[in-house]
């Protein structure tokens, strides 16, 4: 039973939160994610949820409060962007190492500086090694659907890790789009009640969470944490299958768009994938075999599956909406190239940096990328492997 509406990405996520009715939300406002706790706090004030809303004094406190409440046994969440995520940094790792399935609605915004409030992925990409599951959304519908699926993945017994559901700041968070919502009872039935196996408020079971791990324990703890993160891949697929049965909308580890027979492939994350699909459509109409792979799950990174999906591509463009300052590639480029290398696939891969600090990226820009890929194949000259798109020279 779907409900048609028109909502901003922030509103859509806030509604998903209302439908989930978590136990605790701790949050501190920051553009462009402010609207999520703002909208949700009105649900709290109106008695539409029975969530304890904690208006904390900083994002470090927001994540710390979420860790405390989740450890106590409460289903907890928060939302943030950019420098807010940066201020959470220290405790992001604690949430993951303590195996607390907190959900975080991240509205991607660039990290300062130069100071800028608009979209790029430098915030979440910086946190990619913090041990959180990361899922990215192309549009408002995906942001909503991914958030509805979040706890089912994070709380799974084989996983028990925090999860970050990302969407692009302003581009999807503030823009209003048509959307199909699930009925409240369907979301509640799908997500279910939270019954943690062990929690601090259980007086029958003394429990210490987050003890000091001397060097005799630390490596084993990390290795076990890695296994849980790897398990999130299959769980993400299983949950998506159940979600498809409920909603009719299908999700995987990534989306392949006209990729099967594509000579030239583009790998991309987030809202710009929608623009790039328009470029693919235009070039397909002109008889060119181009396609696209849109990342949904970035952590854990489904490298084997991505390499298999790209095995027929002759030239590949990896689109990074962040600068890694290693002089060679962005985080997506590094992951994809590493996955191809391990699969013994050696196509030319051009890594583009685009859309930093909210720089607009157009269908024409992506057509230029595909034209460059075609030129590389025809001239057999890769040229520079690391490029900036739509940069004033």
């Amino acid at each position: 039973m779907s409900i048609k509406d028109r909502l901003s990405g922030n509103e859509a996520v806030a509604i998903a939160m209302r439908q989930i009715n978590p136990d605790v939300m701790s949050a501190f406002p920051i553009t462009p994610s402010t609207e999520i706790p703002q909208t949700f706090s009105s649900f709290v004030a109106n008695g539409q949820v029975d969530t304890a809303f904690i208006p904390v004094e900083s994002e470090h406190s927001a994540m710390s409060a979420a860790i405390g409440s989740q450890a106590a046994g409460a289903r907890s969440l928060t939302a943030t962007s950019s420098c807010g995520l940066a201020l959470m940094w220290e405790v992001l790792y604690v949430a993951a190492s303590n195996r607390l399935p907190i959900a975080l609605a991240l509205v991607n915004r660039t990290l300062s500086g130069p100071i800028n409030i608009n979209c790029d992925h430098s915030d979440s990409m910086g946190a990619r090694d913090s041990g959180w599951i990361q899922i990215y959304s192309e549009n408002n519908q995906e942001a909503y659907d991914n958030f509805v699926q979040a706890y089912r993945i994070a709380e799974h017994a084989a996983v028990r890790l925090p999860i970050m559901i990302c969407q692009d700041g302003f581009i999807t968070s503030a823009a209003v789009e048509n959307i199909e919502l699930l009925a409240d009872r369907d979301v509640q039935g799908f997500v279910g009640e939270y019954h943690p196996e062990s929690y601090l408020l259980n007086s029958k079971q003394p429990l210490a969470i987050g003890p000091y791990a001397v060097s005799a324990y630390c490596m084993e703890a990390k290795r076990a944490q890695l296994e849980a993160l790897k398990n999130a891949k299959q769980v993400t697929l299983d949950v998506a299958k159940e979600f498809a049965a409920l909603s009719g909308r299908e999700y995987g580890l990534f989306e392949e768009y006209k990729l099967a027979d594509a000579d030239y492939a583009m790998v991309i994350i987030g809202s710009a994938a929608g623009t790039a699909k328009d470029a693919v459509d235009q070039l397909r109409a002109a008889g060119q075999k181009v396609g696209l792979l849109k990342i949904r799950l970035f952590r854990p990174f489904p490298g084997e599956e991505i390499a298999a999906a790209l095995q027929k591509s002759k030239v590949i463009a990896c689109m990074d909406r962040t600068e890694s300052f290693n002089g060679r590639c962005g985080p997506l480029g590094a992951e994809v190239k590493s996955a191809l290398f391990d699969a013994q696939l050696m196509p030319p891969v051009i890594n583009y940096v685009y859309g930093l600090g909210g720089r607009d990226v157009t269908v024409e820009d992506f057509i230029t990328v595909f034209a460059q890929l075609a030129e590389i194949e025809q001239t057999n000259d890769g040229g520079k492997k690391y490029r900036y798109l739509s940069l004033r020279e």
């Binding site: 303590n98 003394p206 324990y217 084993e220």
Partner: protein, 101 residues
Amino acid sequence: MAMDGNKITETVSWRNITEGCKIEAAGNSRLFNTGDWRVDTPVFIAEKCRQCLLCVSVCPDSSIPVDNYQRGDFDFMHCKGCGICAKVCPFGAIEMKMGER
């Protein structure tokens, strides 16, 4: 669920270590040998001791056991040899041995 602090030990494999190193038992910090950090070691001279228990109250690690208002010898599994007890003792009943375990 059973209260079992033994699920997490220094020989447990990564497959069996508890999630996030959580400890499903209470009062087990006493099992953690912090005494091996010690450089200098206090020596209790029982015949000089008047049982004023000043040393007990200043010990940061609860390493001076008390039974029926009488202190006994040090708990060397937890004493880090800070020497505060020797400093406060009015009767010279605690001496620090340099570099001795």
